[in-house]
Amino acid sequence: MAQMTMIQAITDAMRNELKNNENVLVFGEDVGQNGGVFRATEGLQKEFGEDRVFDTPLAESGIGGLAIGLGLTGFRPVMEIQFFGFVFEVFDSIAAQMARMRYRSGGVYSSPVTIRSPFGGGVKTPELHADSLEGLMYQTPGIKVVIPSTPYDAKGLLISAIRDNDPVVYLEHMKLYRSFRGEVPEEEYTIELGKADVKREGKDVSIITYGAMVHASLKAAEELEKDGISAEVIDLRTISPLDIDTIIASVEKTGRAIVVQEAQKQAGIGAFVVAEINDRAILNLEAPVLRVTAPDTVFPYASAEDVWIPDHRDIVDKAKKVYNF
């Protein structure tokens, strides 16, 4: 098995699908010769040719429309939005067009589009590059939203996303691109969309999270262990649809839970997870379900990221609060 960074695993998944299906097309700003600003498409144009892997003019809305049109003619587009903060430029194509194509045509047409995009704080970008905007996507019926946290998950989830016949927004946390390596099989494999993964088992408190916060939560779990608190860490992996069964099974076991997200508190995934737990498992709860989130400001100036983004200490504090409730 190979050791890969998350970005290598992402490239590997695209290579696999470009080989696997001649209708797969990879395109976006700078994805061709340059291999993408993060090198996610490194070498792909050379290997598969300009017909399959190509640059687009610099216009996100146009990229979205192109993907819809190519999808209608039988292609399987994998489009890149260079940074997810630019999603507002292409929001109509995603939320008003792709997400509704199947519905508006009463099941006749679909948009089998994968939208890959880097996001996430901690790498000191200019504004509108790092924002966690997955909540906007979650509010949109008709699309799936995937956020991997490990190289292994990244490959299996991206292959599944590309093979999915509905639009999938696949968000890649920039801080995880090269921060560590993990074991990734060289052969192809898929991870079912909508399935969470228990990244660490525990019995006292469930920490439900996704993206880079999985790693902060695992670090928090280690600290909690020192104080004799056994934390279970659930990586949602797909935030739309959520894997309710895994969440509820964990909460039924531990009776205590916190939800951790890098995004602002307002109208986030965390709020929805809390509501679902209340609906389905309130009698199992020994304490209220609390949230660890960023504050409800605009994503911070680069030099203020370290005080704004939640870290493992915030998670430890909240976990202890529900544990000692």
Binding site: G65, I68, G69, L72, R102, Y103, S105, D166, S240
Partner: protein
């Protein structure tokens, strides 16, 4: 010294074949159409005019739903569609229902779309049209994609899309033209300039003298056509189609036209923004009157033929409304099933809930 902009704008003269009196003023541009084809063009325009009148009246009776009148734009709509091959794609705006229907979309489904029924969006297999687009301009970037897809597949087919003069102000309009140009996509962009975007006159949309000239910035062909002249619209579209399928790239066609009626039947009152003088000025250019004169001179059209089409249209509409009336009552369970190929947990649960509720 001539300003660059004047030098560009002055090149966009209006392309015309038939004068308002139905005289051929541009013989060399006459498309090669058989007598039967010429009659069929007239038949479609008459049919559509009757359909429009019936639709307005059905709307007033509360029997139709959303409707955007088309009278005045028949030549622009039907002349362009007539130049297409059955395998070509149409990405319509919400007024472009006639092109869809003459491309194979059943009339009763058009009525169901108006009424807001899911069967109105279920395009039959083999009919290459999309559902009418509501977001102004969204179809233009998608047309670049469909046109690029057709090119990639080596197909001798095009994607044609329609918007209005207001649509040419949208960012997606410029992005669509630019993308299609950059990829030399098999695309045709038709801007039906009917002079008003709801109430805002075209003069207030842009400093550009023509919309056709906007092609220049995208590096593609552009032409302004007399949109009340069905032969000119047909010829321009046919040439654009030839260029596209022979790899010469997309074309922007601006048709100068006019909608006689309101923007939609949902309360728009054109007397608030248009004068009677302007209305009658454009009615003099009427596409049906003009083409009828042309055909009558060639002994290709008679009152008898006209009446036959009128009756045929009325019968079709009656039958199609009856068929639309027979569509099933919509259920939430139907709608849930159209969300994804495979339903996620939330919709599976809601499907169960609504199945129970709707079976009561």
């Amino acid at each position: 010294m001539t300003k660059t902009i004047d030098a560009v704008q002055d090149q966009f003269e209006t392309f015309q074949i038939l004068s308002e009196d139905g005289e051929v003023v541009n013989e060399s541009a006459m498309p090669k159409l058989s007598d039967e084809q010429l009659q069929e063009l007239m038949r479609r325009m008459v049919y559509t005019r009757i359909w429009d009148q019936r639709a307005i009246s059905l709307n007033r009776q509360g029997r139709l739903g959303f409707y955007a009148p088309v009278a005045g734009q028949e030549a622009s709509m039907l002349g362009s569609q007539f130049a297409l091959d059955k395998e070509d794609w149409i990405l319509p705006g919400y007024r472009d229902i006639p092109q869809m229907v003459f491309h194979g979309f059943p009339l009763y489904q058009a009525f169901l779309w108006s009424r807001g029924h899911f069967q109105g969006g279920q395009i039959p297999e083999g009919v290459n049209v999309l559902m009418p687009q509501i977001i102004i301009g969204a179809q233009i970037i998608q047309a670049a994609g469909v046109g690029f897809g057709l090119k990639k597949q080596g197909k001798k087919n095009v994607c044609i899309t329609y918007t209005g003069d207001g649509g040419a102000s949208q960012g997606d309009f410029y992005e669509g033209l630019n993308f299609a140009g950059a990829y030399a996509a098999n695309a045709i962009f038709v801007v039906q300039n009917n002079r008003f975007a709801i109430s805002v006159p075209v003069e207030k949309q842009s400093a550009a003298k023509t919309i056709a000239q906007k092609a220049v910035a995208a590096g593609i062909e552009g032409i302004q056509v007399d949109g009340m002249d069905v032969l000119a619209v047909y010829a321009a579209t046919q040439q654009a189609r030839e260029r596209a399928i022979s790899g010469e790239g997309p074309t922007l066609i601006e048709t100068l036209t006019y909608r006689y009626g309101p923007h939609t039947m949902a309360g728009d009152d054109p007397t608030r923004y248009r004068t009677k003088d302007l209305d009658s000025e454009w009615e003099k250019k009427d596409p049906l009157v003009r083409f009828r004169k042309f055909l009558e001179k060639k002994n290709l059209w008679s009152e008898e033929q006209e009446n036959k089409v009128v009756e045929e249209a009325k019968e079709d509409i009656k039958a199609s409304i009856k068929k639309a009336d027979g569509a099933p009552r919509q259920k939430v369970t139907d709608l849930i099933n159209f969300m994804f190929e495979e339903l996620p947990f939330n919709l599976r649960e809601q499907l169960e809930q609504y199945t129970a509720k709707e079976s009561k």
